[in-house]
């Protein structure tokens, strides 16, 4: 293993073959772990009728990094599967909202833990599972539930992906990844659920074996393409949290 490097030369190359209609997940929770550079490349690439799986859209804050809300605004998106389809602060209006309200884009709202577990299930060959989350709420209306040991649970299905776009801190040529701090978030989970995982990486790609087997966060078998993020301004990097423009 690891005889051939998974490193590609550019973000453009990494997304070049993505067809219209793909289901693509994007890692990241706030700034850390968000694949800004791959999002930018996908904006340039122009694939259409996409389904976007992520925690949230971003976009209420200014100035804006390339975020998946821009894919919506760019007319590339048919549907989103997110834990937030509105901002946490009801006074913030997301750029996404008008596309959703007009019916141009469809949305499935999924509790964050259920989203993570549905992705994990897809990667781990579990087609469906029961969870206590959302029982008794509007999200459970008309859906199948089951009482187990006296408690009511909701049936949830795996969420398989065509592509996962993720960001890591360090990688070796075999695709083994490490994340720094809360950069980890959804990234390792999405990597297992995708037919093709593309990682943008903070540091230069190391030779296979340079990350000790005990120190790997995501095994290389889940990672298909690697691109190193160039220094700013060419490459996009997390910045300090911006004050909200009110």
């Amino acid at each position: 293993m690891g005889q051939k490097s998974k490193q590609l030369a550019s973000f453009r190359d990494a997304v070049a073959d993505i067809p219209d209609g793909s289901t693509i997940a994007f890692g990241g929770f706030a700034m850390p772990g968000t694949p800004f550079n791959l999002i930018k490349a996908l904006l340039d690439h122009g694939a259409k009728r996409l389904t976007l799986v992520a925690n949230t859209t971003g976009g209420a804050q200014q100035p804006r990094m390339p975020d998946i809300g821009m894919l919506v605004e760019n007319g590339q998106v048919a549907k989103v599967i997110w834990a937030f389809t509105a901002a946490t602060r009801p006074t913030d209006v997301l750029p996404f909202t008008k596309y959703y309200e007009s019916g141009e884009v469809d949305a499935e709202l999924v509790p964050q833990g259920t989203l993570a577990e549905r992705l994990r299930a897809a990667g781990a060959g579990i087609p469906a599972f029961y969870t206590p989350t959302a029982v008794g709420t509007e999200l459970a209306a008309g859906r199948e539930t089951r009482v187990i040991n006296g408690r009511e649970y909701l049936l949830e299905y795996a969420l398989p992906l065509d592509y996962a776009f993720i960001r890591a801190h360090r990688a070796d040529a075999a695709g083994n990844l490490r994340f720094h701090r809360s950069q980890r978030n959804f990234n390792p989970v999405m990597a297992t659920a995708a037919r093709c995982t593309i990682a943008e990486v903070d540091e230069p790609i190391l030779p296979a074996g340079a990350i000790d087997a005990d120190d790997v966060h995501t095994a290389g078998i889940f990672v298909h393409r690697l691109v190193q993020v160039p220094p700013a301004p060419e490459g996009l990097w997390p910045t300090k949290r911006q004050e909200r423009a009110r």
Partner: protein, 226 residues
């Protein structure tokens, strides 16, 4: 949440009161907004582990300016620090911790809390879509749910209600409610007022509460220090 000057407790005081409930050894998840302020409260040498949805177990205070790690945030997106003994896991494992019942308490904000312990915090009336985030998982699965909210809306309408008219986040889970007016327990048939904020009267509170209000026999002023 409103910055308008409200009667009774200030925001940090509501957080302080709730933080006093945290017991030694607890694993605590703090929601965005006022709940985050619970970690500012001095509760002596009680050993509390703060957990964040993004998989950070054991975060500490907000990082000093210039010392931020831009890849380390809490659930509110603030650049925080780590305490000794901290660990990081991925999102599925982080919600495994939540769903598995390993969180001793989650403290959240809300739009409404009902007498039966339902609460609503993800969707406003008439809104398309909403912001659930990790709230439904935490609400359904943490060992205890504590809510902090302003006692009335900006328009003066009660937030403690007989039944939520907004879409609920979870049903029958709220154990304790701190508002700027005092400390309450949903009992199923009403709200039990246990502690009252300075400057408020029981009658004022009753008038601003939509459900049945009962008063604890040992009603006392809101406790603000351990």
């Amino acid at each position: 949440m409103s910055e308008t000057r409200q009667k009774g407790l200030a925001r940090q005081q509501m957080a302080d009161r709730v933080a006093l409930e945290f017991q030694d050894g607890w694993i605590v998840n703090l929601g965005v907004g006022i709940p985050t302020m619970c970690s500012n409260t001095d509760i002596g040498d009680r050993d509390i582990t703060y957990h964040s949805e993004n998989g950070v177990i054991g975060y500490g205070g907000v990082a000093a300016a210039g010392e931020e790690d831009l890849n380390l945030v809490n659930a509110g997106g603030q650049n925080v620090t780590l305490k000794p003994g901290a660990a990081v896991v991925h999102h599925a494992d982080s919600f495994g911790i939540i769903r598995g019942g390993h969180i001793d308490v989650t403290v959240m904000g809300a739009y409404q809390v009902s007498m039966g312990g339902d609460f609503a915090n993800w969707k406003l009336a008439g809104q398309k879509g909403g912001g659930i985030g990790g709230a439904m998982d935490l609400a359904a699965c943490a060992k205890r749910v504590f809510i902090i909210l302003e006692h009335v809306t900006r328009k003066g309408e009660p937030r403690l209600v007989e039944a939520c008219d907004l879409p609920v986040t979870a049903r029958g889970v709220v154990k304790l409610v701190a508002t700027n007016y005092g400390l309450f327990e949903p009992t199923g048939s009403g709200f039990l007022l246990r502690e009252i904020a300075p400057g408020l009267t029981v009658e004022e509170i009753r008038a601003s509460t939509a459900g049945t209000l009962t008063v604890a026999p040992d009603l006392r002023p809101v406790r603000l220090a351990g």
